[in-house]
Amino acid sequence: MSTNPTHEVTSLLHAWGRGDEEALQKLVPLVYRELRQAARRYMAGERPGHLLQTTALVNETYLRLVGVRKVSWQNRAHFQAICAQLMRRILTDFARARGYQKRSGKVNRVTFTDALLIASQSEMDFAALDAAMKRLAEVDARKSRVVEMRFFGGLTVQESAEVLKVSQDTVMRDWKMAKAWLMRELNGEGHRGT
């Protein structure tokens, strides 16, 4: 393991971006480790009043992980788009490994137990989201990519527009409709039983 993980991650990402699948296998544990560390910092900070710091910390970690600052502005958006793909894959696998899908395939069901224990936001089922995004891609590939970049990659509307070579307005419209479409999809329409 390199003493400079950021640098390593950056070069691996570039390699994966060029189609090197082996690079991904090296990337995954590194990203997991970063995720875990971030999570631990988050837990340590899980005291009242530390919300700001925690959120900032998470974002900072992400920026550090992908080493955005070292990438020239010209390439940055494209580079982030690759990161977004990576993140999507890792989180989807992560979710599968965790058996998220056992929850009747829906992200929406928060059981009574969850309500008693979590008492904050409910869980996002990345595996279900990934499947829904694949279905969206069949209908409208660009919208699925917009979601990937914005949600998984944290790209701004401007950055996404640049990568996709469309207007910012188009990205905004795609984003809006994709969110509604995915939400409907994840909700399984009429699964609410009330």
Binding site: P48, D114, L116, A119, S120, Q121, G154, L182, M183
Partner: protein, 1001 residues
């Protein structure tokens, strides 16, 4: 959807319509889409279903995936690192652990079985860090217990709190469903679901607040919506436990949250012992809840119930709009927003919200708690009224909507109403000119009547017929029964005259019913001409209420449900062109519609489980006006809308026992809006009587009404023909209150009765040759089944617990017949009300009949007035399940047989205490049985029924029934034979009812 490949053209169409529709307001959308889809319903459906997710998707995926994942991992790691506090299969107290349901930051949850009550529960172990010190744990237990003791449908019930190896656990209701947070985030709430849940949550809060329990952390994730649509507030008391020590100095209890404090406008100021030194960052109760704190919570001030009102306001806003009221990326930014900003108007987000919603939200979210709704009841009534208004705006949906006017809301309105009332100084009109128009006896009460529009005639009804009286001369003409009804017995009532004064409107009701239960069922509407000609039937299965001021339209009720008629219809004055006007659901009833003087508005009564409410509405639509809420209206005996625009109503004075006293009140209503424009004013200063059948002349100068008094007295009659005939019934007790005969003394020369002549009920004894009684015992409010012991020395009785109901068994008491204090003989065992009775010498048997808990068996046990409970004599099956608490039982004078009925509808069985076979007394048409006594000869029974105001019959054991007495004007009667069989004590009605006219009101 989304499964198959969508044609690109199709997709573009969807996309284009979706974005176009997004630019329109929610109201414009459906019209736009209908037009654009050109009959392509599938296309419209697709776009609409996407649009439905527009607002709930707004915050979806706006937090980067990385951050979401980090938090999830964090939560999971925490839960994995938690040691299991208990093993599967282990039993703690009465809970056997079945399986682990999950674990997280707030502890570990197990599914467990309550082995004592055989129900499944959730056991939640609190993380050790939450339970800092015994004091905070104790407070938490107190609050959680107090909240659970409410056993409120909108609060998750906590069954028990315990400790296992140093770890605190909570046993609670195991629910199925999802959190409100999830519900809002994933899918827009269905139309007006926000209101339904809002009302439910407020009801839960109200119940808790009244017990002095504050939640302090109301937020969507703390509200659970079960799969059958019930919202439940979770974790009462937990927020306080979870808050860091010293950050919030609210103590328990905060202040008395009794309604009175608040409705009088006294807003309890709570003093902050200035937690000003506490930094903002320390006040949060738990991570992620910053967005739902009240300003005072953020400031670290002392908290009271109003903090929950604010947080609930935020939840309500979010339910209605799908968005958070305050946004901020960080805790401090959110807190800053809560302290300083006003949320963007909710109707900007959801244009379908009613304008009044903004008002309610605005008041709930007042930064200064003094300006906020002071109690959950206040906001509850605001929501209730809003719901009624919404229902009225959507008459098409009227029927579907369940209207449960919540008692709580009504109480709040009523309290306010009474406050208004009390502040109104009684300005009794002193120049009232009164004249009695009829002079019927108490046995022949005038049941109702109405004055003609020109004031010349009075049409009225008594049990013998229907009449028109020329008021000036007193000349009275009997209206012949219509041919069609000649062979039938009907009860008539008159509601109003046609404006031309030549005929009036009358209803023919099936006989025997109490007039308060009259409905359209079996009733018919008739137009009755004054001068000659037969009454003409206008409609069957209808109950007419009024004629419009121009005489063109008749309103009537039909379609009888649980609470009365459920539909109001209109028809032309000739009975043609009937059409439905309003209707309501099965859990309510509407009726008694009257038109306003200008014919633009109507008022009518809405009835549901909370009682009656008088409401008004514009014929063209618009909001419903609450004129008299249930708490008031339930004591209103009659109402009318006077030609001068005043609402007049007869209101019963609050009085515990004794005669009813009513007075007329008036309240001026705005002709256009129908709203009250002055305080209610008392018009009369009468006592001892009540009014009904109020009607006015067209010029509004004369009013007629029936004025009635009630009372109950003991009659004595001589028995003849083996007890099956009575001769010479005469008044025996001579006071104006209520007297109820209970038994005869052993010598047969005096009657023991209950009377309220001395303000409260007492047991009295009066000899046949005297006209005043002696008191045996004065404070006998809950005494029933009063019997004289066979030896004649004691009066024995069952005393029901003060809180009537089957919860506590009754006590059997004795008082010396010569007077004295009651002493306990023994306690009944059954929770179902028991009966006691005694035989006559030579038998000295007294016995108690107790029903088993399953109400299938009757256990007869002897007792002695001095020695107490004796031996079990017999057990009988009821034959079929007994009906409620209304079962009947008496012992034969020789002590060998019982007459038993499992309920008011019989059958009467004669059961032998000597092992003889049971016998059924087959009586035709003997329903609504209330009381039965054996005849002195043991060959028959005196049975009282609740028909015709109370009917008394002699029934022989072969089933032949002979009616002896009808108690017109009453509800029931009693027939009690003396031991020698020579006399019968009968409960009869006194008082009466006649029509009066009033001027200068």
């Amino acid at each position: 959807m989304g499964k198959g490949i969508v044609e690109p053209d199709r997709w573009r169409q969807v996309e284009q319509l979706y974005h176009s529709a997004l630019r329109l307001t929610a109201e414009e959308r459906s019209g736009f889409l209908k037009n654009e889809c050109r009959g392509d319903a599938k296309l419209c459906e697709e776009v609409e279903s996407l649009l439905a997710y527009e607002s709930s998707a707004k915050e979806f995926m706006e937090v980067p995936a990385f951050e979401v994942a980090v938090k999830q991992i964090a939560r999971r790691e925490t839960s994995e690192n938690q040691a299991d506090p208990v093993a599967i299969g282990e039993t703690l107290r009465r809970f056997r652990i079945l399986e682990k349901l999950g674990s997280g930051g707030m502890g570990v949850v197990y599914k467990a079985e309550d082995i004592r009550l055989h129900r499944t529960v959730a056991l939640k172990f609190l993380p050790k860090r939450l339970v800092r010190d015994p004091e905070s744990l104790e407070r938490f237990e107190r609050e959680a217990h107090a909240a659970s003791a409410l056993n409120h449908p909108n609060i998750c019930t906590v069954y028990d709190i315990g400790e296992h190896e140093g770890q605190t656990f909570i046993a609670m209701e195991l629910l199925e469903g999802q959190t409100l947070e999830r519900l809002i985030r994933t899918q827009p709430l269905k139309k007006e679901e926000w209101l339904t849940f809002g009302i439910q949550i407020t009801e839960g809060l109200r119940a808790a607040h009244l017990k002095g329990i504050i939640h302090r952390d109301i937020k969507p994730s703390n509200i659970f919506v079960t799969i059958d649509g019930q919202s439940k507030i979770l974790d009462f008391g937990l927020a306080k436990l979870a808050s860091p020590a010293g950050t919030s100095n609210d103590s328990y209890p905060q202040y008395d949250l009794e309604e009175e404090n608040c409705t009088q406008g006294v807003s309890p100021e709570t003093v902050s012992s200035a937690a000003s030194h506490l930094s903002i960052s320390l006040t949060g109760v738990a991570m992620g809840t910053a967005g739902y704190m009240s300003p005072e919570q953020i400031r670290g001030e002392k908290l009271d119930a109003r903090t929950d009102i604010f947080s609930f306001g935020l939840v309500l806003y979010e339910m209605a709009t799908g968005q958070r009221a305050f946004k901020g990326d960080t805790g401090p930014a959110l807190q800053e927003a809560i302290l300083t900003q006003t949320p963007s108007p909710a109707r900007g987000v959801n244009p379908e919200l009613p304008a009044k919603f903004e008002e309610i939200i605005g008041k709930a979210l007042e930064k200064d708690r003094v300006a906020r709704y002071q109690t959950a009841s206040e906001i509850l009534s605001a929501l209730e009224i809003l719901r009624q208004e919404i229902e009225l705006k959507h008459p098409a949906r009227w029927r579907e909507v369940i209207i449960a006017v919540v008692v709580a809301g009504i109480i709040a309105i009523a309290t306010f109403w009474f406050a208004k009332h009390q502040s109104a100084s009684p300005q009794v009109a002193i120049n009232l000119k009164l004249q009695q128009l009829t002079a019927n006896s108490s046995e022949n009460r005038v049941t109702n009547g109405a004055i003609s529009p020109d004031g010349k005639y009075l049409a009225y009804i008594d049990p013998k017929g229907m009449y028109v009286k020329l008021i000036e001369t007193g000349e009275t003409q009997t209206i012949p029964q219509p041919d069609a009804l000649r062979s039938k017995k009907v009860d008539w009532d008159i509601f109003s005259w046609f404006p031309d004064g030549r005929s009036f409107l009358a209803n023919a009701h099936p006989p025997g019913e109490d007039e308060t239960t009259w409905t359209s069922q079996g009733s018919s509407v008739w137009a009755v001409p004054v001068s000659g000609g037969a009454p003409r039937k206008l409609r069957d299965e209808a109950y007419a209420y009024s004629i419009s001021r121009d005489g063109s339209t008749i309103s009537f009720g039909t379609s009888t449900g649980k609470f009365g008629d459920r539909e109001i219809w209109l028809m032309r004055s000739d009975g043609e062109q009937a059409r439905k006007f309003y209707d309501t659901d099965e859990n309510s009833a509407i009726g008694g519609l009257l038109w306003s003087p200008n014919g633009q508005r109507v008022i009518y009564v809405r009835t549901d489980e909370s009682g009656n409410a008088l409401v008004g509405r514009d014929l063209k639509g618009g909001p419903l006006t609450m004129l008299l809420p249930a708490l008031v209206m339930n004591d209103v005996t009659d109402y009318s809308w006077l030609p001068d625009g005043r609402l007049i109503y007869s209101l019963r004075e609050p009085q515990a026992i004794g005669r009813s006293s009513c007075n007329y009140w008036v309240m001026r209503l705005d002709a256009r809006t129908g709203e009250p424009i002055e305080k209610p004013r008392r018009l009369t200063n009468w006592g001892g009587s009540c009014m009904s059948s109020t009607s006015a002349t067209a010029d509004g100068k004369k009013l007629t009404f029936s004025k009635w008094t009630d009372g109950s007295t003991v009659f004595v009659a001589d028995l003849d023909a083996g007890g099956s005939h009575i001769i010479n019934p005469r008044h025996f007790t001579l006071d104006e209150g209520f007297d109820y005969p209970q038994d005869w003394t052993a010598d047969g020369k005096a009657i023991v009765f209950l009377s309220n002549r001395a303000a409260q009920f007492g047991i009295y004894k009066q000899s046949l040759n005297k006209d005043s009684p002696e008191v045996i015992f004065a404070g006998a409010a809950n005494y029933r089944d009063i019997r004289v012991s066979p030896d004649g020395k004691w009066v024995i009785s069952i005393v029901d617990p003060k809180s009537t109901g089957p919860s506590e068994p009754g006590k059997i008491m004795r008082v010396p017949i010569t007077g004295g204090s009651p002493e306990l003989i023994f306690r009944a065992e059954a929770h179902v009300p028991s009966h006691i009775f005694c035989a006559r010498p030579p038998s000295f048997l007294c016995a108690i009949a107790e029903a088993t808990e399953d109400r299938k068996q009757l256990i007869i046990t002897s007792f002695d007035p001095v020695k107490g409970r004796g031996t079990e004599l017999a057990r009988f099956d009821f034959g079929r399940d007994m009906n409620g608490d209304g079962w009947l039982c008496d012992i034969s004078p020789d002590g060998t047989r019982l007459a038993v009925s499992p309920g008011p509808e019989g059958p009467i069985r004669i059961l032998s205490l000597r092992g003889q076979p049971a016998q059924v007394v087959k009586v035709k048409e003997l329903n609504k049985m209330l009381i039965l006594y054996w005849a002195a000869d043991g060959k028959g029974l005196y049975v009282s029924n609740g028909i015709h105001g109370g009917t008394l019959s002699h029934v022989d054991l072969q089933g032949h029934a002979q009616v002896l007495w009808e108690n017109y004007g009453g509800n029931w009667t009693i027939g009690l034979p003396s031991r020698d069989g020579r006399h019968l004590a009968i409960q009869g009605e006194t008082g009466g009812s006649n029509i009066w006219t009033m001027e200068n009101f």
